[in-house]
Symmetry: C2
Subunit: 495 residues, 2 copies
């Protein structure tokens, strides 16, 4: 495989050398969607820290130099977390199962932090405002630096971090210490280091927190349009091998017809016990228990436009992207991740989103959802509605006389996850149909590589489109905006 | 006004004489959508009791003879409730404000029950199976009956009742006692009376509870297809003057431009203090506080097809109706009334749906919903997103560290009502657009004439369609299926 970046039909050249890029195979519940990406051939001329501040989460992306792939890559992107939790096993997608070449192999986590790279200070740049090597404290250090940086050595990792917007100061502190550490590693003063760093801010919070970032970090802060960044991020990330994945029709077929078992697919562990039982070639409708599905990772990136991008954060934005990369936000819904998290935090004892997802994995929505069979006592076959189909989400909960039933957090979580995911899938499909788009990318922090979410979205698209459209997912689903902001600055720096 | 039934482009003739039909002006919180309709010219050949059994509610429709309009009409349709509650005042739609001719005027409720009419027993029918006047107990009674029924006297009321499906036995008992009382009033035996009564059952429960109705009531029970009945019901009910209502564009314009105030509109009392402030002709987007809107009642019924029918019960069915009356269920969503009722019964102390609606009238969704302004600190004007627009329903609820905030039942109710209504409006619009339909009827027990629901749905349709499509509502919104079942039997009896 020679993963040369394919030429995309875009007016803008992407100035990151993606040849040989690999997604690092670190694994922890916190890094499902934030594994580092190693670029052996990329040279970053200026240090950019991109931050995409949404309603609930702030996502940070930055590049650190290191000529060799990090030996302990999981550290770089996990806030120093050292325990690879088995929480992630049933829910997250492992590329290792897939037969694709992913290197380096996972190595045992160490407890040191961020020793694999540093930001590039502007002072090391030959063309940096003419003050190339000024500001260094002594000749020895200067000589050492000249030796080390006489040539740009390529290679380094793109790193991904997530913070809660409510605790934006943590995000600011993280960037602060990243800049300080980089100054130390590069033996330059903090003032010099700051001159070589730019913050590219996007998302709604780029406006709200602009002064906070500028005045605390003392670095240049630039604001970028949110939708533009999402599309730039999508354009770039889809160049990375094994970034894009989807449920294969072939695999679905083989699940329905167990005599064929393709070797290139991994099976997601799902609570469902039974595969789809429809006749050959008949597409199954969404069901409360999606069959075990397999995912396929796209190891040879393909041009991705035209497409629909559905970005699911607190709310949902739906963006149509034309073949030439022109885009328009055509729709959206307020029923997004914030709705699921908010309602489940009221309805269950869960205190984190991962706990909510863990609940939903154990739940049975049929105790709270009114199914077609509950109303009809059977299928409503004249309309093709199967008895297991959800007729009314939470339809079994309200009882006459206000008798408050008891429902388990697990069942409630599963029901609400289905409700929100199905609804997004349906609205996404209708927009894809309207604009005649066959590929529907789902991005945003809502997804988190969670099997039930992904199968529900995939199912919804398959059901409504009668199999003509495909739901496509991304490993770095939550970082499209921040990747886009990072890329945009590289573009403008290179111009 | 001469309310002759307009000829509809339908293959099926409707055998109810709707000339002079009036909606009775009874008013109580329970009868928002179940006022009787008086038909001065209709003669019912056979007694039909139609019942539409949904996931949450069973809706009953039946006709009772009475040559004069009932003097105390509110009794016939309120389960004997005698207190006209002021609960309904801010929420329900009063036709009296509208200038339309509605008679008879409201009279004080009395405590007697169902004395205004009775079912027609088959024995009074000349063509009834040849056993015309058999089964009567004495000659005196027979003579009296012959005098009374020598000619079919026209006139009577269509009555509407609602029961919870969980308590279907109450519905059965109600029908049982209606049959018994009608036998008594008509001086025929219960056996004879039963021969003259047919139950037309539709909805999912028509299958599930078929044996229960047949074996308890000892009358013929016929099952009718749910979607067919909905469309028949829509076809019929839209012939009734002042049944159909909608928000007038003219009124909306006048709200935005206070110098014009059309006299024919009533103003819905809504929590919103401010009217839409957009520039002339610019359509306002949905907002958490819809402006005070006026509704217009259609006093001159018009042909209604083609159209989209969105029936919101526990779940939602979306049905496309062609100009010739052909129909297809094209979409639906599981996020319907059952979702709102179910979640609010878990999240608030409300024990009835009316309590939930009362809560929502007092709430402020901005405490739980994440608005565009919460994320951006301002409008996202590049996308035309106003700062007051809801970006994420319940998006403010989930907090880091699992700190469970306290949110009032009022605010939660309002937020969820908006979320569900907006979502249905959006999906309805997309289907209307897909099938190029301009009139979107909203039916089903979800609506209950509730101002916030109606304004939200109207707003959503206006927003998404840029004012090209119209949300249309019905007073008897919840009874389309049962009215359709009633009509279908009249058709078949007349054939």
């Amino acid at each position: 495989m020679s993963p040369v970046a394919p030429s995309l039909p875009s007016a803008k050249v992407i100035h990151v050398d993606t040849r040989g890029a690999v997604i690092l195979s670190e694994e922890s519940p916190e890094t499902r969607d934030s594994r580092g990406i190693y670029f052996p051939n990329h040279i970053e001329p200026v240090s950019h820290i991109a931050v995409d501040i949404g309603g609930s989460l702030a996502k940070v992306v930055y590049f650190t130099r290191s000529p060799e792939p990090p030996s302990s890559p999981s550290i770089a992107a996990t806030h120093g977390s050292t325990s690879p939790s088995n929480l992630s096993t049933p829910r997250s997608l492992s590329p290792a199962d897939n037969g694709a070449t992913v290197s380096p192999p996972t190595s045992p986590p160490s407890s040191s932090v961020k020793h694999n790279g540093a930001l590039t200070p502007l002072v090391l740049e030959p063309h940096a405002n003419g003050n190339g090597l000024s500001g260094l404290h002594d000749d020895l250090l200067r000589d050492s630096l000249i030796r080390r940086t006489a040539q740009h050595f390529p290679g380094g990792s793109l790193n991904f971090e997530r913070f809660e917007t409510d605790n934006i100061h943590e995000c600011v502190e993280f960037i602060q210490s990243l800049i300080e550490r980089s100054a130390q590693v590069n033996h330059v003063s903090i003032e010099e280091m700051r001159k070589g760093v730019k913050i590219m801010a996007t998302g709604g919070g780029a406006h709200k927190f602009y002064e906070l970032f500028r005045d605390t970090l003392h670095v240049e802060v630039r604001r970028e349009d949110e939708m533009e960044c999402l599309i730039e991020g999508l354009k770039f990330i889809t160049l990375i091998p094994d970034e894009v994945y989807y449920f294969s029709d072939e695999f679905i077929h083989s699940v329905s017809n167990p005599s064929h078992t393709p070797a290139t697919c991994s099976v997601l562990g799902s609570k469902a016990a039974l595969p789809a039982t429809g006749a050959n070639g008949v597409l199954e409708r969404p069901s409360p228990d999606p069959p075990k599905f397999g995912v396929i990772f796209e190891s040879h990136p393909k041009p991705q436009f035209p497409c629909l991008l559905v970005n699911i954060g607190s709310g949902v934005s739906i963006i149509k992207v034309d073949e030439d990369g022109k885009f328009e936000r055509v729709s959206g819904t307020s029923l997004g991740g914030g709705t699921l998290w908010g309602l489940l935090s009221l309805l269950t004892p869960a205190t984190t989103f991962d706990e909510m997802l863990a609940f939903s994995d154990e739940g049975d929505n049929a105790t709270v959802d009114m199914l077609v069979g509950d109303i009809y006592g059977q299928d409503y076959s004249r309309l093709g509605l199967k008895s297991t189909m959800i007729a009314s989400s939470f339809g079994k909960v309200f009882k006459k006389g206000g008798k408050k039933g008891t429902f388990s957090p697990e069942d409630i979580s599963r029901s609400l996850l289905y409700a929100v995911s199905n609804n997004i899938g349906q609205i996404a499909y209708m927009n894809a149909e309207k604009y005649n788009l066959d590929r529907i990318y789902f991005g945003g922090c809502f997804i988190r590589g969670h099997a039930a979410t992904i199968t529900t979205l995939s199912y919804a698209i398959r059901f409504w489109s009668k199999g003509t459209k495909r739901a496509v997912f991304l490993r770095h689903e939550g970082f499209l905006g921040s990747i886009g902001a990072w890329i945009k600055n590289i573009d403008s720096a290179a111009e």
